[in-house]
């Protein structure tokens, strides 16, 4: 029995390896995910580090600078470049032409000398994310000046300024270096699900809907081979391609995080343990069989090549969306979650990436459940191939 399966497997493998165009586009699709991630990291990192740069002088237009000379002098010493007041500060800030502006009221001097809180107004647009860093820098400096003057006034009255500070708040951060990387790495399962499903999809669709459309399925099925062997041969042929896609994805992520000097961009050292990536690959293997069987069923049902491609294209969303949800709503990797194929594995993948200890029982349960489902789906696919509709189409 295996004999014919081997013959079919070899032919499908050879045929698809020769399909340079599909292989090329699959490769491109696979690398797209990691490349986009790299691009985002570099872009955001660059922007954030530039904005945080206290070395660069911040341009601050001030109206009424003449009312608060010592405040202005303080600001200049803190690397703030004071600019003359603009025509209409509010409109400029709202448009984004100015990030922040300061307005000092004429009665500032009077209030200040009398020991009353003297008003300074910060003009900002809170809906502009990009300006927030400039705004907080100005706010922090004004608060620092206020505290400074406040402390001096208390000292002048013979009171120790520390009396006003009832608590000293300290923070002890227990996050591991890997978990600091959380935000970025949480997208990995999402991209992996797409890689997993795209790698073998072309092979399966071509071998089923494609064969029917090209008119080569009918003569093929006239050969004295049980339908089951055709299904198995075609399924098995898709697996190396799907596995290769995952492998390339993981290697790409490994290169991004371990080789590219990311700390230059975001000031943070990210790394993924190569052993963790190997474990992730192993965890993905049962899912490859599941994905291939599902695709086979869809491609057999579809009326034609285009339909098959469309439905198979939607397939990755089913496992990927819950995975994406994990990035925002963390779920613990408990045994019951392992009973959900693809969801359990994504939890395990997250654990491997964060460097958390992974339970062997979880891995085994997850793999078994997935494989059992894959076998059931394969049997369904074989039943579909037995039907007359396989020749007739719809």
């Amino acid at each position: 029995m295996l004999d014919k399966v081997r013959i079919i497997f070899q032919k499908e493998l050879l045929d698809n390896v020769r399909d340079r165009r599909t292989l090329g586009s699959a490769l491109f699709g696979t690398l797209l995910g990691p490349l986009i991630l790299l691009f985002i990291i570099v872009l955001i990192g660059r922007f954030v580090s530039e904005a945080r740069d206290d070395e660069k002088p911040l341009k601050l237009p001030v109206q009424g600078a003449e009312h608060a000379p010592s405040l202005i002098q303080f600001l200049r010493q803190q690397n703030i470049e004071i600019l003359p007041p603009p025509e209409d500060a509010e409109t400029l800030v709202r448009n984004g032409d100015l990030e922040v502006a300061l307005v000092i009221a004429p009665d500032y001097g009077e209030d200040f000398s009398a020991g009353r809180p003297a008003t300074v107004e910060i003009i900002e647009d809170s809906s502009r994310q990009t300006a927030s860093i400039a705004v907080s820098r100005v706010t922090n400096l004004l608060q620092a000046y206020s505290r400074q003057i406040g402390a001096l006034r208390l000292v002048a009255r013979g009171i120790n300024p520390q009396i006003t500070q009832a608590l000293e708040i300290q923070s002890r951060d227990v996050a591991t270096p890997q978990s600091q990387v959380l935000t970025f790495l949480n997208t990995l399962p999402y991209f992996l699900m797409f890689a997993l499903f795209s790698g073998g999809a072309g092979v399966i669709i071509d071998g089923t809907a494609g064969e029917r459309e090209r008119g080569s399925l009918e003569p093929l099925l006239i050969n004295p081979v049980p339908r089951r062997d055709f299904v198995l041969g075609k399924l098995l042929a898709a697996i190396p391609f799907a596995a290769g896609t995952i492998l390339i994805s993981l290697i790409a992520y490994a290169l991004i995080f371990n080789v590219v000097p990311l700390e230059n961009f975001i000031g943070l050292r990210l790394s993924i343990d190569p052993l963790a990536l190997l474990n992730i690959f192993i965890v993905c293997l049962p899912m490859i069989v599941l994905a291939t069987a599902l695709q086979m069923i869809i491609a057999t049902f579809a009326r034609n090549f285009k339909e098959a491609q469309t439905y198979v294209g939607f397939l990755p969303l089913a496992p990927a969306l819950p995975g994406l949800g994990l990035a925002f709503l963390p779920v613990k990797a408990e045994l019951w979650t392992m009973l959900i194929p693809t969801f359990g594995q994504q939890l395990l993948i997250n654990q491997f990436m964060r460097g958390e200890p992974v339970s062997a029982l979880n891995v085994i349960v997850s793999a078994l459940v997935t494989l059992v489902l894959a076998v059931i789906l394969t049997v369904i696919a074989i039943r579909l191939y037995d039907r007359e509709q396989i020749i007739l189409g719809r």
Binding site: I7, S216, E218, P219, E388, I391
Partner: protein, 244 residues
């Protein structure tokens, strides 16, 4: 030998094959003649075991199509209406694949493929990928892969479809050669001349039924017509769907 006994097949309300019976003996060319929609292809598909008869029997060399499909498939070589090739494989690889699926391999398989390459004059195209082959070239590959396992029964569905004059003549030579080697040849056509030129025995089908059958002489006598083509038309009822 192919025996068809009282075969019925419907698709929903469409009665594609409605009580068809005939026998195609070994060493003879039997033609299924009829307009499009007569039920020729459906009958052939039941013989290839791709469709199951609703009722009735069909046997190839004694084996029943419904009960022993694999045995039937081992004993037939088919050129169905759908005769697509694998564009990324060479002509030789296409034929080899089907040979392997029939359980052949090694030197014997290669020798047979080479024999077919020579017989069908495929020397120039044998090791080219079939992508971009002309209709005639595709047909040669399709025939080769149908014959690589030397089947005793050869079933051809409209074999000269889309062929030019030269290729049509070559096709007829192949069919006659198979008959001369003792195989049972069954082919379907809607071209009267084709059937008249080749067939030892003719089964005329229309509307899912057998309208008449017999040798060319017998049909002329039965219908009282001078020439075969007029005989066909009188049996079927009109010229519609037939080609001279």
């Amino acid at each position: 030998m192919i025996e068809v006994i009282d075969l019925y097949k419907s698709f929903g309300p469409v009665k594609a094959v409605h009580g068809v019976s005939f026998t195609a003996p070994d060493g003879r060319i039997t033609g299924l003649l009829g307009p499009n929609g007569a039920g020729k292809s459906t009958t052939l598909r039941m013989l290839y075991t791709l469709l199951k008869p609703d009722s009735g029997t069909a046997r190839v060399d004694g084996f029943e199509v419904a009960a022993a499909p694999l045995e039937v498939q081992k004993r037939i070589g088919a050129l169905p209406d759908a005769r697509g090739l694998y564009p990324r494989l060479t002509a030789r690889e296409n034929v080899r694949y089907y040979g392997q699926l029939h359980g052949l391999n090694g030197a014997e398989l290669e020798a047979r493929i080479e024999g077919l390459v020579k017989m069908l004059e495929m020397g120039e195209i044998a090791d080219r990928r079939t992508e971009g082959f002309s209709t005639g070239e595709r047909l040669k590959v399709a025939i080769a892969r149908a014959l690589v396992h030397q089947p005793k029964n050869v079933l051809l569905d409209e074999p000269t479809n889309g062929l030019d004059v030269m290729s049509t003549r070559a096709m007829r030579d192949v069919i006659r050669r198979l008959r001369d080697e003792g195989q049972c040849v069954l082919f379907s056509s809607h071209i009267m001349q084709e059937v008249a030129a080749l067939c030892d025995q003719i089964v005329i089908m229309a509307h899912g039924k057998v309208a008449a059958s017999g040798s060319a002489d017998e049909l002329r006598t039965q219908t009282g017509q001078q020439n075969l083509e007029d005989a066909f038309v009188s049996v079927i009822g009109s010229e519609e769907g037939l080609e001279r």
